[in-house]
């Protein structure tokens, strides 16, 4: 009965996402909003977890979301289906956790060294600064892109989820960010 | 060992632990670092050797301070720093024992050790960095959180009253009590120095900024803004005497509040007992 390890495969009903970046880039906020968008888009199970403690104060930051149509057993990521890397450091750190041909989304305004050809590059930070006038919404823009690239949730659900959590007065900025992210992603989407 | 005034700006580095990686874990602008600087400059001025200083702390952002400095350091359990320090000081009375503690550490869970260390008048210098909140756990209310202030456990405004740590220390028996703020630099050095040199229990309360939690939740702005507020709200003991209670609400009376050089110190008294009983 040996060689068990050769035979095993990770269940296909799991979709694992990691949002990674630096402390100030709102990856945790992003992951929470992402969960809520998924929650509104159907009956999927969702588990979110994040790095906590010293790591969470400045430095690298990551948040994982596991999605499934069934009961989710193991709550953390095993092999990522999608990695969003907003900084070089996070890409370097987590690229190895992405499964072969997994979706890799990169903020190409901050990340320059990319170990693969197979990725979606969008200049979230630059676009946020130039088009919206605030880099704070780069995370929401990335969610727009994820929405377009995965179809895990609708743009409407995403917008609703973001607006429910974002501070008053930022509605327009955020909506715009989603639109831009969504549109940019559609431009480069491979089917 | 002491350094002249001129070199003040870099002597701090003589006391940083070579093995500890800098910068510290503290948030940008956290007042703890300012107090740390003042403390080592005073130690340097007083010419204490590194070996004779023992720094004891509890748990909290503030309580991480001793770990960065190249003295004997004892980072203990939450609230118990003064009890551990009592063991250190009584065990080795020749040491200069300094407790670095936060408002939560010293006055919430550690309140009993605080009043008893005061009562015994044991020769410990207690530097209490009061940022009006539990920084480390994310901004809950503390025994010094002002009435009506917002914290994560007083989301609708604090309904509790707050301690005045200096009043408490005086009533409990401390023999040197003073208050400063992170913005009043030379005065802070002065009271820390006086506390260290005082034989008996000294409390040095330093008002400091946790802009990350207390400041953010109460719209006090960033670190420089909070430092500026301390400047505005500080009243010297002299001026305070001329003000009534109402006028003093929300103000910090800074300066030496109490000094008693007559009351005997605990370890000295016990040494007399030993000398007498050993015969």
């Amino acid at each position: 009965m040996s060689k068990l390890l050769d035979k095993i495969e990770i269940p296909k009903d799991r979709f694992e996402i990691r949002l990674s970046g630096s402390g100030g880039q709102g990856m945790i906020f992003g992951s929470v909003v992402l969960c809520e968008a998924i929650g509104q888009s159907g009956n999927k199970s969702v588990v979110q977890s994040q790095s906590y403690g010293p790591e969470a104060r400045g430095g690298a930051s990551k948040a994982d979301v596991v999605i499934s149509d069934n009961e989710i057993y193991y709550p953390k990521a095993m092999k990522l289906d999608l990695l969003l890397a907003m900084t070089q450091e996070s890409l370097d750190k987590y690229y190895g956790d992405l499964k072969d041909h997994g979706v890799l989304i990169i903020d190409t305004s901050l990340v320059t060294e990319i170990p693969t050809e197979e990725f979606y590059g969008i200049e979230f930070t630059r676009l946020a600064r130039n088009e919206i006038g605030s880099i704070v919404v780069s995370n929401v823009m990335a969610l727009g892109a994820i929405c377009a690239l995965t179809g895990l949730f609708t743009k409407e659900a995403l917008t609703e989820a973001v607006l429910a959590r974002a501070p008053r007065g930022t509605e327009e900025r955020n909506t715009k960010a989603i639109e831009i992210g969504y549109a940019e992603a559609l431009k480069i989407k491979k089917d | 060992m002491a350094t002249t005034e001129k070199q003040k700006s870099d002597i701090t580095h003589k006391y940083l632990r070579p093995q500890k990686s800098f910068p510290s874990v503290w948030c940008p602008g956290c007042g703890n670092g300012i107090v740390m600087g003042a403390f080592v400059r005073v130690v340097d001025k007083l010419g204490y050797s590194k070996d004779e200083v023992a720094m004891v702390s509890g748990i909290g952002c503030t309580s991480r301070l001793p770990v960065y400095l190249d003295f004997n350091s004892l980072h203990t359990t939450h609230g118990r720093a003064l009890a551990f320090a009592t063991g250190v000081k009584f065990g080795q009375p020749k040491m200069k024992v300094v407790v670095i503690t936060g408002d939560g550490d010293a006055l919430a869970i550690g309140g009993n050790h605080f009043i008893h260390a005061c009562r015994r008048n044991i020769d410990i210098t207690c530097i209490l960095i009061n940022n009006h909140t539990y920084g480390m756990t994310g901004g809950q209310g503390s025994p010094t959180t002002p009435e009506d202030a917002i914290s994560t456990t007083t989301p609708y405004g604090n309904v509790e009253k707050h301690f005045d740590p200096c009043d408490l220390a005086m009533a409990a028996g401390a023999t040197y009590v003073a208050r400063g703020t992170v913005t009043h630099y030379p005065q802070m050095e002065k009271i820390i120095s006086a506390g260290l040199e005082h034989e008996g229990f000294s409390l040095i309360e330093i008002i400091s900024n946790c802009h990350t939690y207390y400041g953010r939740l109460n719209r006090k702005g960033d670190a420089p803004a909070m430092l500026e507020q301390f400047k505005e709200n500080a009243i010297t003991t002299g001026k305070a005497k001329k003000m009534d209670e109402q006028e003093l609400v929300g103000k910090y009376v800074i300066g030496k509040l109490h000094e008693d050089n007559v009351k005997s110190e605990f370890c000295c008294e016990y040494q007399k007992l030993i000398d007498h009983q050993k015969g």
Partner: protein, 87 residues
Amino acid sequence: MSDSNQAGQEKTTPKKKSKYDFTDDNLPLEINLSWCKACNICIAMCPQQIFEPDRDGRPVQTRPADCTQCTICWVHCPDFCIISTVK
């Protein structure tokens, strides 16, 4: 927040003149930017307004000549980044 503060916002250079002879080549301070957390304290507190923030918020000595070596910036830097060049 207070009157004095609002006055400060005008950024009028205080009068006190430095007794030192600082220039762009002879800076008043060494700043360890690798420890600097860009907290803005030194920038905000310097009475001579010596500093301006760089892109990351760290202090740049833009008016070195006015420095009076008053000590304020370095004693208030929580991260021991600032050292006087005057020995």
